[in-house]
Amino acid sequence: MEHASPSFWNIFQKKHKVIHCEAGGPPEIEIRDLTVAYPRNTVISELTCHFNVPSLWAIVGPNGGGKSTLLRTLLGLQKPTTGKVIFRGFCPCDVAYLAQQNQLDRRFPLTVGDTIAMGLFREVGIFRRYTKEQRGKMQAALEQVGLASFAKTPLQALSGGQFQRVLFARLILQDAPVIFLDEPFTGVDTRTIADLIKLVHVWVQEKRLVIAVLHDTALVNEHFPNTLLLARQFYREGATEKVLTKTNIESMIETSQAWEAMIGEGPHG
């Protein structure tokens, strides 16, 4: 949420140098004893888990449970209180990130083509023209998300689902080995969800790591082999069928109710 508003102070905010990179070993993200605390509350406490590359992970949990904080920490935008994040076999700039859709202004005067071209920014830099090959890639990405004839369409003419398809096309062009998706299917029609999930599976087949924050547990059960259930101090990680059990979900609800009660009492105590 925070980085959406162009706050003056944010310009001084750099990526925290909290992510350690190691060259050797099979590519993976290792999170070791990670604790992230804001002044008044601890959002993530002593989280330890591994995300192998390639694999497909869902992060599930109640609001305020630390899902977005975890993603922000993995992106280097949030400094952990203690613990370590280690990237093996790739560096933080190899991560592609899809923010929540409501952070973007859909009436911004750009065309679909302009928007997906951002995915090539690291390749082309500030001045260079797009080569024929790159234009070919853009068209291919558009075809992959089912928007082949939309390159010249302005963003404001798109539906919510089409807009999300555009952002996925941008992710395709970024060609990153690690992809984070923050609630990618919220406010998106079912047909688009089905198409985009197919795309996510293609990414995993292409040996990428995809981590998605999701709300819909039915969707997770059906499509995501691994899940991290996160509700502040309570967490479970592993194969989805072992994580999304009734007992785990009940204890998740219990812990989240406990801290919601605390917040309720907060102003008085």
Binding site: H3, S7, I11, L77, D105, M118, F121, F127, P154
Partner: protein, 283 residues
């Protein structure tokens, strides 16, 4: 016709200078205003433009009614205020817009106080409402210099700046220096406000940026065409504003801004994305 539209500028050198200053101003403020609107930072622009006043007042105390002295003072103080309110919103419960409002009221009061105690009532009017008819060569060079600088910088950082406007998180994640582009853009806003304040005064300096920019949004759907429309509208309002102020003996600043306002009002009715056209499209 010629008498009405051209002769005033042919006859009087001060009007010619004023017109040139307006044109230069329009070319710089047009694009900057569009970006300000797209970033939803019009309030930030408002705060910056008022924050310029005490700085300009201090510059006025030191250098008298000279644009470079007042401009430099305004630029520095404007920037300090912008950073301070950013810091305050970060460390207190106040939102950025609230702390901006607080700061710009204080700056406005402070500026008016300094000028009215140290200068005359006339000086105060000049600084608040502009003295475009008194543009001399130095200020003309300054305004054109600022415009040139603005357009060059915008040309250089166009692509990343647009990405930063549309999706700041994206640029940060892919390792672009998002912060630097944001900072450079703020410098450009402050510079253009300083340039505009001799012509329009600190109270209305922002008008040359905002009004043409919001009007252009009703005409165009691409950033480059928004820039063109916005600059064009700014040039038009500068020219007709000066013309009106000459023929009707109106003060120049308000005439220019009112012309910009008129263009906005007309655009609302006849522009392709204006209020009327939109309704027709729905039917």
């Amino acid at each position: 016709m010629v008498d009405f539209f051209i002769s005033p500028f042919a006859d009087y050198i001060f009007l010619r200078r004023a017109l040139m200053a307006c044109m230069a101003l329009a070319l710089g403020c047009g694009p900057v205003g569009v970006l300000l609107v797209l970033r939803r930072m019009s309030l930030m622009g408002d705060a910056l433009s008022h924050a310029i006043l005490p700085g300009a007042a201090i510059g006025f105390l030191i250098g008298g009614l000279s644009l470079p002295a007042m401009g430099l003072g305004g630029f520095i103080v404007g920037f300090i205020v912008a950073s301070l309110s950013g810091v305050i919103s970060r460390f207190t419960i106040l939102n950025e817009d609230a702390s901006f409002a607080g700061f710009y009221l204080i700056s406005l009061a402070l500026g008016v106080l300094i000028i009215s105690t140290q200068g005359s009532q006339v000086d105060l009017m000049h600084i608040l409402f502009g003295t475009i008819l008194a543009v001399d060569n130095t200020s003309l060079f300054m305004v054109t210099g600022i415009t040139t600088f603005t357009l060059c910088i915008l040309a250089i950082i166009y692509r990343p700046l647009l990405i930063e406007c549309f999706d700041p998180g994206f640029l940060r994640v892919i390792g672009g220096w998002g912060g630097m582009y944001h900072f450079l853009f703020l410098v450009l806003v402050a510079l253009n406000l300083v340039a505009a304040f001799q012509a329009l005064g600190t109270l209305m300096a922002l008008g040359m940026m905002m009004l043409p920019a919001v009007s252009s949004r009703l005409w165009a759907r691409h950033v480059w065409s928004l820039f063109l429309f916005s600059s064009f509208f700014a040039v038009l309002s500068g020219y007709f504003g000066l013309l009106l102020s000459y023929h009707l003996e109106w003060p120049s600043g308000p005439s220019i801004i009112l012309m910009a306002g008129l263009i906005y009002a007309i655009s609302l009715f006849i522009a392709p994305f204006g209020a009327l056209k939109r309704q027709q499209g729905r039917d």
